[in-house]
């Protein structure tokens, strides 16, 4: 057990999403963990993707042997409202097509079963007078 199953599971899906050429056409390989990395004072690199661990619950036997982590991952795309139809919506549809029902693995973690979306995320914020859209989902995976 690596001890970092949830974070490692997120890395597995980042690898999957960054490698997809269809998705690259919309947002490139701009996937960030937790928050977009931008220079101080500069605007975020619209559009881009964010992944974050929303919750992770260890699954373990009474013998204290941990068998995995029941994990909720947030995957969303963020961009200007004016780009919603042409970019954000098709980008997230592609994300969902790639992630929903998909397992995976790396040298650090094994995704047992398949990712299942439990919640759609669709909300907006206003930054400097611009409407910024967030479109994504929260996916449950069992990471070992």
């Amino acid at each position: 057990m690596a001890g970092t199953e949830a974070t490692d599971a997120l890395t597995v899906y980042f690898t999957l999403l960054k490698a997809d050429t269809t998705l690259q056409a919309f947002i490139g390989q701009k996937w960030y963990k937790d928050v977009a990395q931008t220079a101080p004072g500069s605007s975020p690199p619209w559009p881009f993707g964010i992944g974050q661990v929303q919750a992770a619950t260890d699954i373990q036997f009474l013998s204290a042997r941990r068998v995995g982590a029941d994990t909720l991952l947030m995957l969303k795309v963020i961009g200007l409202d004016g780009d919603f139809t042409a970019t954000l919506r098709p980008a997230y549809r592609r994300v969902d097509a790639l992630v929903q029902g998909t397992s995976g693995s790396s040298s650090d973690v094994l995704i047992i079963g398949k990712a299942v979306r439990e919640q759609l995320l669709d909300y907006s914020e206003i930054v400097n007078g611009q409407v910024i859209r967030h479109l994504g989902g929260v996916y449950r995976v069992l990471a070992q």
Partner: protein
């Protein structure tokens, strides 16, 4: 003349009472956890969490501590044996799921996850204690 006698009404009432108490307890546990996980500047978002059931609410109207702080009106009551855990501050969603410049600080999601298995275990115990098997079995025979 044939008289049929059973204790179904008492059994169902007992189950309903236990489920009702369990739903309320779980909701308040989740609310407490969400408050503990909340980012605090003025405490507005933390204090704006509340639980609404069919006949109760711990909603309180809060004064905005600074310009831009808003609170949603209290929501309508849910149905029987339902409870809603509500983040009343308008900016709760931006903390739970993040903004374009700020990472998320999940509050409700981990709170629900912590409460999930204890709730299911207690729910099954309640139905077993009533002598009618699991809730799933109960649904099948119902």
């Amino acid at each position: 003349m044939e008289l049929e006698f059973n204790h179904f009404d008492e059994v169902f009432a007992g189950i309903d009472q236990q489920v009702n108490q369990l739903v309320r307890k779980t909701a308040f546990d989740i609310e407490g956890s969400a408050k503990q996980e909340s980012r605090v500047r003025y405490g507005f978002m933390r204090n704006a969490w509340y639980v609404r059931t069919e006949d109760s609410s711990d909603y309180t109207s809060l004064s905005a501590p600074a310009p831009g702080y808003r609170e949603f009106p209290e929501i309508a009551a849910p149905g029987h044996n339902e409870a809603l855990i509500v983040g009343g501050a308008a900016h709760t969603v931006y903390n739970e799921y993040g903004t374009s410049k700020m990472g998320a600080q999940p509050m409700l999601t981990p709170a629900v996850e912590r409460a999930r298995q204890p709730f299911l275990t207690a729910l099954e115990a309640a139905s077993n204690g009533a002598g009618v098997g699991t809730i799933a079995e109960f649904a099948l025979i119902g």
